[in-house]
Symmetry: C4
Subunit: 286 residues, 4 copies
């Protein structure tokens, strides 16, 4: 409903074959449409697993032929699916240019390219893995969508604050990285400012590999400062997301409906509808 | 009360012996029942400690015989306890199939199995450790339960959001792992996509062992991106749990109703209704 | 005011010498009392710094004699201070048994013990460092106290939830540690269940030293699970503290005073005082 | 507007040349002023990038002459800009002493100093990097400022709580560091109390390099305690910032007043007052 218009759904004339296919492939309200999405979900998971497992040399040496066959099987399946989507879509061009249209297309190309042009091109693996993104579309059929919406909306609402935050981090990381480059120098692994910035990011995010670590007294004192800074500012994105989520979830709970205009979002202590001004009955909240 | 019905508790006829045992073993309201639970708590902690200490080779070489004896002592105790539970339960079959019934049964088996069949089977240790789960049942006697309930309810309420979140993490980890596999390759430890995914999880959760770390420039740039991503999304589960807890704790506080105007939202220390000014009875809060 | 009654403060008779000393040493309201606390703060910081710096062998070899003299100087100062506190306190026995009384006493003993009995006992260093705890008493003179109170109250209010949380962590760590002990075994560093538990704590808290790390496929899969668990549950203490702080700070902000009974803590939308039921004027909030 | 008064902006007399330059350099409301800020932003980013890239020996060996030329180009540009700011400012002395005045001055000096006095002084690099701080001034032209304000205000409001928190951390770190120094000793890398404190900071912030790690049983038990402490208190700064942000964002949303009954707390999308039902004018929100 949200991603695509459903042609002929509410009119009385019988559906054409193309419209029936549309309802199955794009829709999620009919039993067939739901079944299609479930099969597609399994197909995507299996095809992604094959790519992942195929990268383990022990497995690909032993079962390489099998993996290749399964790969081709799913490529053909997904090619047919892509063709059907183009065929039955009321606006094929718009589908082809949409995000999932591009993902659908890009994820079937690598097998053909690898076959005809670059047989052993490893980097094509990643493109094949893009199929996994299609799972998000299939997930629209299950009821986890509302939860994903709240999360997504919270992150979207706080995007500017997060950008400001990351920009400040970047400035901090540049200055810390340069300081460590000057203090520790090449002999302790800080061979350039970018390497110092890498160390600063590893430290400020509290990952701490330990592949590059300060070894002078002064470097360790600065490192302690960087860590405590990181400790303090790890609180900031948390605070941003949390306060957005608190707001979103409160909004989600304020499900009082105006008896006059049917709109939602009224506070629990509202006596008059904030949209149309008509009185609301007092509702007891559990 | 919540986990089991107490037979004959409120009727006037005298209790049978089986019902008395039931009250001691399953109940927590009588002094005997509380004493039983406290002894059981100590027994579980000691028996788990014996398993943990028995894994230290220096200790098991020196005191192996002692550990074995204590092991058998508790196995017999717990076997008797299990038998009594089956005997006095008004519905033995339902108890045997319940979660704690299964834990009770499974945690006494390993000693017998190790004795009769596989004397040195190390993996049985873990099954014996399941006894520790019984502590959660015993804990119902102490007043920390209300706190555990608020925590549990918050986590339960946000289970779908957390699932959506972990699913997104998994997709991200798969793509990052594949990218690192292609960029760094086997010579730097990224010998397969699953290994790359392991690295991505180690990095995105900010654990950062450093056993596998990027060594190329491009790999380090991607790693920095992964870390900053991890830094940002560590905020999401925190936000989910926090906003649930804020809600749960508010609900916990806002359940006082004014007897005159029936409105909610009064503080625990309110003596008069803040809306109509009529007195509220003092309610004791645990 | 909170920790000790001030004798003679509000009566009209002139203060005795002992009471004057009391006001300087224990009080913070007179200029002399404030000066005394400030000098004490500096003395504590310097004496702690001497202990810390004295542990660096390069410094203690070069300036050992100086450190020893400063050590003795402060020990004598703190001994005199302790004597004065005992002398002027209206209830010396109660002071001697109080938390800070014990810290005051314990922190002057080590120097004498080291001189008369164990000249080079290194572990006495730590006892001397306990002096640093006295800073918290001195800090009561500055205005950061109100902030410390809000923090302290929040942590105190959520102590039960945090205990329940840590108890669950401990059960989880025991089970994970035992699993890794069985999966990885001694040859990969997991030589006992306690060592596995140490690894589980290092991992679940996202510290990740990397001194012990899984090396088998199965071990790495379990480790990934442990990390994701840690990632999710790091949210729980954050949620607990945050929701308490949100509540505490709101309470702190609700500074509406009832014109009749002068009590605080009224909600912004309160029309009648929740304590005495008399009407409150509407106050505009910025 | 906030940082500087704009001379002659609202009077009717024509602007002098100096005032026109002022509007372009300091102002952000005219198209020219906005263009100037955008060019300055790019110039700062490029000049900082040159310093960062110049630290990579491979690049500086190959393109050293180019980097030097670009360096001089930007130094001349920024010198002219600094001169113009001094010339057109209505109060040059006040500008020169302001934070950004000092940064502007300090960031052009290093190139001259390096040329005339210390040709290869590496530490001057960092001073040149201070230019990056000027970005924050330029950013005032874009609309991310409001978000930065909310973040900044939240951190500013919670500065005392954060100070109290860091002070407690420091006391904890000192005591933990001294304990580990005594327990593990020099042979395991804990060669002094400051080094133990460095380890304690690395551990409590969950960075965990692993360059210094406990190796005795007792040391590992203490380390586990330090980690769990760190795990619990990582929640505190998060809680502080989050509760401030929740408050700030609520304040941001709740400033709409009903023109009829003067009550607050209306949602941004409210058309009618929820208390009295009278219409509210629509207010556009950024």
């Amino acid at each position: 409903m949200t991603l695509s218009a459903q042609p002929g759904n509410k009119s009385d004339r019988p559906l054409t074959g193309r419209e029936k296919i549309y309802l199955v492939i794009f829709g999620t309200e009919t039993p067939m449409g739901r079944l299609f999405d479930e099969i597609l979900l399994v197909a995507i998971l299996v095809s992604v697993s094959v790519v992942v497992l195929g990268s383990i040399s022990a497995l690909s040496n032993a079962y390489g032929q099998w993996f290749s066959s399964i790969e081709w099987f799913f490529t053909v399946i997904f090619t047919i699916e892509y063709g059907l989507r183009l065929y039955c879509s009321p606006n094929p061009f718009r589908y082809a240019r949409s995000f999932f249209g591009v993902v659908d297309f890009v994820s079937i190309i690598p097998t053909y390219v690898a076959f005809f042009f670059f047989p052993s091109a490893e980097y094509l693996l990643i493109i094949r893995l893009l199929r996994i993104l299609r799972i998000f579309r299939v997930l629209k059929l299950i009821r986890y969508l509302r939860e994903a919406n709240i999360l997504g909306r919270s992150i979207y609402n706080s995007r500017r604050k997060i950008l400001v935050f990351f920009f400040s981090i970047l400035v901090l990381v540049t200055i810390y990285g340069a300081l460590m480059y000057v203090i520790e120098g090449s002999e302790h692994g800080f061979s350039s400012i970018p390497k110092g910035m890498y160390w600063a990011i590893v430290t400020i995010t509290t990952v701490g590999y330990g592949d590059i670590a300060p070894q002078t007294e002064l470097g360790r004192m600065l490192a302690a400062l960087v860590m405590l800074t990181g400790y303090a500012i790890i609180a900031v994105p948390t605070g941003i997301i949390t306060s957005e989520l608190v707001g979103e979830m409160q909004k989600d709970k304020n499900l009082r409906v105006c008896p006059n205009c049917d709109r939602l979002g009224h506070d629990n202590d509202a006596i008059y509808c904030k949209h149309c001004g008509s009185p609301m009955e007092q509702k007891s909240t559990g």
